[in-house]
Symmetry: C2
Subunit: 372 residues, 2 copies
Amino acid sequence: MKKEINPWSNELVKDYDYLFQDFGMQRIGPDLRAKLGEHRLYRRGIVFGHRDADVFVAAALAGKPTAVMTGIKPSGEFHLGSKMTAEQIIHLQKQFGSTVFYAIADVESYADNGLRFEDSHQNAVDNVADLLALGLDPKKTVFYKQSENMHVANLASIFARKTTLNTLEALYGHQNLSLYLAVLTQAGDILAPQLDVFGGPKNVLVPVGVDQDPHIRFTRDLAPKFKEELGLLTPSATFHRFFRALSGQTKMSKRDPLSMMTLNDDEALLKKKLANALTGGRATAEEQRRIGAEPDKCVVFELMQFHFYDDDKDLAEMEADCRSGKLLCGECKAIRLKHIRAFYKKHQGKKAKLRAKAEKLLEVPIGFRKRK
Amino acid sequence: MKKEINPWSNELVKDYDYLFQDFGMQRIGPDLRAKLGEHRLYRRGIVFGHRDADVFVAAALAGKPTAVMTGIKPSGEFHLGSKMTAEQIIHLQKQFGSTVFYAIADVESYADNGLRFEDSHQNAVDNVADLLALGLDPKKTVFYKQSENMHVANLASIFARKTTLNTLEALYGHQNLSLYLAVLTQAGDILAPQLDVFGGPKNVLVPVGVDQDPHIRFTRDLAPKFKEELGLLTPSATFHRFFRALSGQTKMSKRDPLSMMTLNDDEALLKKKLANALTGGRATAEEQRRIGAEPDKCVVFELMQFHFYDDDKDLAEMEADCRSGKLLCGECKAIRLKHIRAFYKKHQGKKAKLRAKAEKLLEVPIGFRKRK
């Protein structure tokens, strides 16, 4: 059995097969894909694995209330990984009418990065403005800060009662107390949408990167232990592949600002980041013209595939021009930059108009229990 | 070095000397006692140890704002141990004008006893009514439920960052995650009064039973680590001796209802509990008349000493009548019962009138951060 994946590392995991073979993850097959609805993330196999997503879909299609849960650490700007998950939850919200629970994980930011709540607030507003600009419907979304959602903190305490240190050590290795507590808090985030104050037990889908699977398994094991007490249903999940850092060497990471694009990047920065991105180009222009380049190695190709080309025709053309040697990498990058810039211009324009709304959405702590 | 005290056991610790010899606890000497002000708990050496209580007193006497922090698990009725601590904090409030922070530890009740928040609410109201009847000034008290005080939960998360599992294991032995989390939450309770939202850094005194010393030491070690970030001052503590269970064999414990008196006991129950209480009596009445009984062994004597006789003359008379053999234990118990009943009648009368006020005090969650 392969060694467990480490959700806190930025090591690039290339082989996910063991998750299906040894850890019971399921592949998204044609049937489920059809039910999830048309989206490039499913079509291109970027979101490729799941646990009980079919159960979630069946509940939604049967007209039951459902929820989608995700979140962000407000430690910086919205990067492309966050954008990808955002696009998926927006699609799920439209497809199934699910309520989105969006956690601003400021407690985690404080615990991990020492970022005080006052300081993470402006990041949180900026992140929420991105979500709104991408199309998230605030009327069907519960935005909350971990530092203000007592329900999540209380669940973490309650869950600790049925969690052994041995379980955590088996899942995560010997880690510090802060990380173990973060695991309990994340379980609280995932299961809180089923509390009475949020409408009671329901099917919840959590779209995550494949590295987060240990958290998902932990939470799925926990829910049945509180079936009687809280009526919790086992949550479902989908898993997406990693987008590589622009260098091609690691996962994208907030810890390395040049490793990724953020939705706030200006034209100069976009240009610089793209110029430095790893390609599948050959040693010389002559060689590339002659035998073509390798899109499978190219981060720019992945960038367009994951994030910026919705139309498969655009992607196919890019691939063909690469393989044939018709375009050199510099020429190719110039074309993609133009496309990316157009997206940014539109997005940043929308976002500027939505900032005040984002500010307002984070003004009032939500969901505090009203006593009868 | 003697084995660490276990704060979660109801084992009766009889020998505290090692705490002074090996763990740096200080005895309350005549100077400090004089400054603390006249109270039977100090005068009779029931509150006998401290850590930096002199620092707290000096700050208070210098006119600086101070706080006193304590709390209760709302898992049942107010028992005599809670009454004793209540009397001490009321005295401190009057003596030094300190703000009292009173935690209703409902998260701990849920985690330890599975008592849901809805169910512990009525206990909490009842406990607060007792506090008001005993004389706690609600205008200088912050009552809060752990389940509603986000500041405490957030501190627990922040503290986890600078707490190793090894530290906790050294202090408490190998315990489960829930207890470790409870330790962090208690540190949050103790240090929260110093947050900006509660007026910023200040000297805080925590009156506890001597078995709680590991929590105090843990919290005192933690505070300086957040000196720069949160400006936390190291908290002070006083320590009181245990009152024995009425059987004389263990600590008083909520887990054993007949082991203790609660402030809700009716006359019949008081009589029954007192009848069953361990005394220092002899094998026969004849022997007791002849050589007298042993007040040092008698729980009823301790009951009057700790809880019900404020006047040393009453206690001295009780002791003399016991040692001389003048009173047999049955006769003695009848006299004490009369005195205790008088206290209960007065207390329960006051309390009935204060219940609505207690309900109101717990209506609104306190201290949520207002954003600027």
